[in-house]
């Protein structure tokens, strides 16, 4: 579970300093890493054999992640500090490694277990990485970056619907307990990254 205090600390800092380029860059680094992982995965499975109607869902998820990354990249005031990228990469490393394992040859297209894990990790990201609670009440609701965060999170909720349907209906040959355990493990992984991220965001 995400510690609510971490949200409060990050929000307090943003309330004091505003959405500086450093803060925007930190948020954008996390979100784009998560979304690029899910994007890469959906790109890899969209031509999987026998997807049938699911293919449309996969293509839709892929497109929406692409839109989110584009929107965020365009609205972010990027910092010039390379140190942020180095620290951000360290924090998101568990996510990058997890997506790397999923994409490892033969890849999810030919590996149903990896495909299920990809859906599970994507679900965990969409469910647990929620940044709108760090937006302070004094933030300009029409600022492009704030609007982008709100839109992305709202869309995440809709995308989550597809992930839930896929988790419920795919991999039915695997016992529910095993599937739930996998999903919970991915949530813990994402929670760990996100807790670290919030601490980093709150740090001066």
């Amino acid at each position: 579970m995400i510690d609510p205090q971490r949200y409060d600390q990050a929000r307090d800092r943003i309330a004091k300093q505003g959405f500086t380029s450093e803060i925007q860059t930190k948020i954008a680094l996390l979100l784009t890493t998560a979304k690029n992982g899910n994007l890469m995965f959906h790109s890899g499975v969209q031509w999987m054999h026998n997807l049938s109607v699911v293919q449309q869902f996969i293509l839709s998820q892929y497109s929406r992640e692409l839109e989110a990354v584009t929107l965020l990249s365009r609205t972010t005031q990027w910092s010039h500090d390379p140190g942020l990228v180095a620290e951000g990469s360290r924090i998101v490393a568990p996510l990058v490694m997890a997506w790397g394992q999923i994409m490892m040859p033969p890849g999810p297209m030919l590996n149903p277990q990896a495909a299920y894990r990809g859906i599970s990790l994507g679900h965990a990201q969409l469910a647990r990485i929620r940044v709108t609670p760090v937006i302070p009440e004094n933030a300009d609701p029409l600022a492009p970056f704030v609007v982008a965060l709100q839109r992305i999170e709202q869309e995440n909720g809709r995308m989550l619907q597809t992930q839930i349907r896929l988790l419920k209906n795919m991999g039915s040959e695997v016992p529910i307990e095993a599937r739930e355990a996998l999903v919970e493990a991915d949530q813990k992984l994402v929670d760990g990254v996100f807790n670290d991220f919030l601490q980093w965001l709150a740090a001066p």
């Binding site: 609670p133 839930i164 739930e180």
Partner: protein, 324 residues
């Protein structure tokens, strides 16, 4: 917060008070968690009770199943938790979603109960509730959790409470947004797809049962509670004045006092489960807490007999000539 393992899932609980004292167990509503009963623990522990509350599956710090969760699993989990804690019997108090779990528990594990309190709940989906549930689920799925939260505040609380707490609502919504997971709420709500009405089995509940319903609860209105009252012989219906759905949060002092009176009656052997209907006093300090309910408790108003010769009441706008 301690936890137990229930199958492959983890359940976090809070147990306050000394061992050996009578236990009161609280069951949460859909978007609630164990922390919301801390005020109740602070009230009942000094009065000689132990208070058990826990995050149900899909809530707070407990596991949040994504793929599947059966409604019956919640009552089974409660039985396992009591077993784990060495609690043979308990008073069980529950609200809304928790009320359904409590009724299910009372039907299947009634021997573990000293008393049962169900508040703002239902035993079957009335047509109105079914449609409300559908629109809530659709709102959650299509518009997201903030939409559902925004919808629940006016459904649960009175205008008075909203006006008094308006400035705090954004922070409360944010806390709810952080503490809840949309997919977990969705899973809990979707578990109703297989929900079979509990009404046909309610007669099996023989434990003393207090049914509490807010006077103005339009989410789970009187008809939901009346169904329960009619089927449980050893019950009483208590109407909380001026209350809406979430009166455990809005009127905690009144609610705690009613629970205290009920449990004292059960423990003292003076409880009379006669399916009668009562109205709770608005002042928790009043000597008499349960007042007889006059008139038809299923109605909101009582029409007077029409008297043709009687003059219409004076109006400020005398333009209409017809009498009602």
């Amino acid at each position: 917060m301690p936890s137990i393992q229930f199958g492959h899932q983890q359940v976090h609980y809070q147990l306050a008070g000394d061992a050996g004292k009578p236990v009161i167990t609280f069951l949460n509503g859909l978007t609630q968690n164990a922390d919301l009963w801390q005020r109740y623990a602070a009230y009942f522990v000094p009065r000689g009770y132990r208070v058990l509350a826990y995050d149900m599956l899909g809530q707070g710090r407990s596991s949040k199943p994504v793929i599947d969760i059966k409604l019956a699993a919640h009552a089974d989990l409660l039985a396992a938790l009591l077993e784990h804690l060495g609690i043979e019997t308990t008073h069980l108090a529950s609200i809304s979603f928790g009320g359904i779990i409590a009724l299910d528990f009372a039907i299947r594990h009634g021997e573990r109960l000293q008393s049962l309190t169900v508040m703002s709940t239902f035993a079957e989906l009335t047509p109105q509730l079914e449609l409300l549930g559908t629109v809530m689920l659709r709102g959650l799925a299509e518009a997201g959790m903030p939409y559902l939260q925004s919808m629940l505040y006016p459904m649960n609380m009175s205008s008075t409470w909203i006006a008094a707490n308006r400035a705090r609502i954004p922070a409360m919504m944010r806390a709810g947004y952080i503490g809840n997971d949309g997919y977990a709420l969705q899973n809990l709500m979707e578990s109703f797809a297989e929900f079979k009405p509990l009404t046909p089995d309610l007669h099996r509940i023989t434990t003393p049962t207090l049914i509490m319903n807010g006077e103005f609860d339009f989410f789970t209105p009187r008809e939901c509670h009346e169904l329960i009252r009619r089927e449980i012989e050893n019950s009483r219906l208590l109407i909380i004045q001026h209350a809406y759905h979430a009166f455990t949060l809005e009127l905690p002092a009144v609610t705690m006092r009613q629970l205290e009176v009920f449990i004292a009656q059960v423990e003292g052997g003076t409880w009379q489960g006669d399916q009668s209907v009562w109205v709770a006093a608005e002042d928790p300090a009043a000597d008499i807490q349960w007042l007889p309910c006059a008139g038809d408790w299923m109605r909101a108003i009582r029409a007077d007999q029409a008297e043709p010769a009687k003059r219409a009441p004076a109006r400020k706008t005398p333009s209409r000539k017809k009498t009602p």
